[in-house]
Amino acid sequence: MTHRVAVTGIGAISAFGETYADLWAGLAAGRSAIRPLTLVAPDVLRFPNAAEVPDYDPLRYFEEKEAQMLDRFAQFAAVAAREAIRTSGIEFSRALGERTAIVLGCSGGGKSTEDDGFHHLYGLKEPRVSPLTIARAMSNAGASRVSFEYGITGPVFTISTACSSANHSIGQAFRMVRSGEVEVAIAGGSEAPLSMGFLKAWEAMRVVAPDTCRPFSLDRRGLILGEGAAALVLEPLARARARGAKIMGEIVGFGMSSDAHHITQPSALGAARAMRAALADAGRSPEAVGYVNAHGTGTLANDATETEAIKSVFGPHAQKLLVSSTKSMHGHALGAAGALEAAATLGALQCGLIPPTANFTAPDPTCDLDVVPNTPRAAQIEFAISNSFAFGGLNAVLVFRKFL
């Protein structure tokens, strides 16, 4: 028997602050949290801006000894998961822990930990690096940390598919809950990519905007990197109702595809196949969808290709869709992107308010959709999709439903 899957907890740490309420308040106001970088010296990069978590202090969440064991990305995972679990009201007994999954996406792992080790090795010419380097830098460190905190002993793993990591993770968790394989799942993603070595690698790719992120806008000049984490608590709708939980929305479909085309160039065919697969999984026609939280990176290639893909899936209905990229406000948080966007999409459905595409200046004929430019839009919508398309051609699309 399959279950309807309810979202009963949401947690987020982002450039807007350290809670989901902070994230949603920023998005609902159409405010961009893209600001000058402070984590690294700004004058050595071609781009001065990012979406950093402001004034983050690990000691608000961890003992000093614990903080030392955890890279920033793993700390973010724990912070978001704690909020999601707290808001869900679930208490984990030993038995429930065994029936619970954690699936948290991460693209790069502990980049600042690696950077620091390499600095000691190559820069300072020291012969050794910290013995905590491996434990801090591994991409599953966040998921493992959450399992320790709550005694969760069911399936716990990390999916690393670059910018689709969180959507793939939420999708797998959704399917495990839907099938009854687990009773509860904590799913999302975390990322802390703002270390000098990794930023230099992004600089060399020439895809980061020197100003800000302007998805679908004629003068867009690239993406803006962000950091943070978001986590969802998923459980069967019947279970959530039986315990009187607050239901923040449903996940009703998940679709994946691979372009098998190019390591960095996007493909409209691959993106479209993932959207169709997600809608088929949800058993819904394209016309049922009212809102698309776009991948919308703000690069020349993505936004035009995504527009083409949306038009091919939705046909004439594409012109009625509201399509926005919240990356214009919380930045592109890579392995956390889909999780922050899931939180944004759930907020949009529950509140009847579509977060806009911020920093929009002029329409691009190759992106001719209603991209909700700059101003949030009131709209009662039942079904929404959230797109993630990764380098390597890996696409993952989630379908959300407002809980009525």
Partner: protein, 86 residues
Amino acid sequence: MSEDLIARVTSVIARAQKIPPETVTIDKSFEELKIDSLDGINILFALEGEFDVDIPDDAARNIRTIREMVEGIEKLLAVKAQAAQK
């Protein structure tokens, strides 16, 4: 455009693309040489190293041919020479 500059630019491109140097001639387009967007970024990186110049993203975006690439490098070298005289 000096022969020497053309030779240096084409040789850098040939090395980056792992193709015979004689195939990279001034009138070829990137498309003809099967240079895609990621290859192009890799070539810009190699040229920055070869000529010790900084190629801005916006200047690089519209380059589609070997000739445009040589002209672009020539301009950057002229700016660099002027700056050195000051």
